[in-house]
């Protein structure tokens, strides 16, 4: 992961965290010769003070972009970018532009989703043919998903409005 400078310290503007310098990571496929799936993971976060179990400091997500590509073309893009001026402030999904996947008109839509985790995207990658690197991937993903759900402050369509 590449992090913005001062990544472990609080600051006014969000920090960035991107996998593979924000370039798609090509993944191994279960089926030999299958079109390769690539993964993009990018998040903005802030380090904030927190009470109780979540404290004294916690990382809070400010924005995310999780993508799967097939053969170098978008398959799915899961977005949450609530900062103005972008009008699409709730979590959503962009479908594939590949002509055998769905119509171009559908690919332009912002399909509403709940908040999506990296673990869920990795599971989707496995579902579309990626070969897991670990036999215990289900256990590992379940554990980190459980921690994410324990400490997140919101799910669904967005954080509580102040």
């Amino acid at each position: 992961m590449s992090l913005s400078r001062g990544a472990y310290e609080p600051r006014e503007t969000p920090h960035g965290a991107v996998l593979n310098q924000n370039r798609p990571v090509v993944l191994d496929m279960r089926e030999h010769g299958a079109a390769r799936i690539s993964l993009v993971v990018a998040m903005e976060y802030s380090i904030v003070e927190a009470d109780g179990d979540r404290g004294p400091w916690k990382v809070t997500t400010r924005q995310y972009n999780f993508e799967l590509e097939r053969g170098g073309k978008r398959l799915f893009a899961f977005h949450w970018h609530p900062q103005p001026p972008n009008p699409y402030t709730t979590p959503h999904l962009h479908l594939s532009k590949q002509p055998d996947a769905c119509s171009p008109a559908l690919a332009l839509l912002h399909v509403p989703t709940g908040r999506v985790s990296v673990e869920e995207v990795i599971r989707l990658a496995i579902e579309v043919g990626v070969k897991p690197r670990r036999d215990d991937y289900d256990k590992v993903l379940s554990e980190t998903q459980a921690l994410y759900e324990q400490y997140r402050t919101w799910g669904g369509s967005g954080p509580p409005k102040a």
């Binding site: 400078r5 960035g16 991107v18 972008n86 699409y88 921690l147």
Partner: protein, 70 residues
């Protein structure tokens, strides 16, 4: 909480980039997807000029690099 510590032992930490490295990366990806400089991309993003349906997915990918230069 035992499960948390087990996972931490397997976690690899990220590397911080300098602002210059971040700007180089932003320039590269802004040119790749939009044919513009990173600085111009930030201007257009902040002005809401990259929010239409056609630009959104690629614009969001590049915009994730903005924290590396702000």
């Amino acid at each position: 909480m035992a499960g948390l510590y087990e996972i931490e032992q397997e976690t690899s930490y990220g590397e911080e980039m300098t602002r210059e490295q971040g700007l180089e990366l932003l320039n590269e990806q802004a040119r790749l997807y939009f044919g513009i400089s990173g600085e111009e991309f930030i201007r257009q993003w902040d002005a809401g000029e990259l929010t239409d349906e056609d630009a959104c997915p690629e614009a969001v990918r590049v915009a994730m690099l903005i924290p590396f230069v702000r």
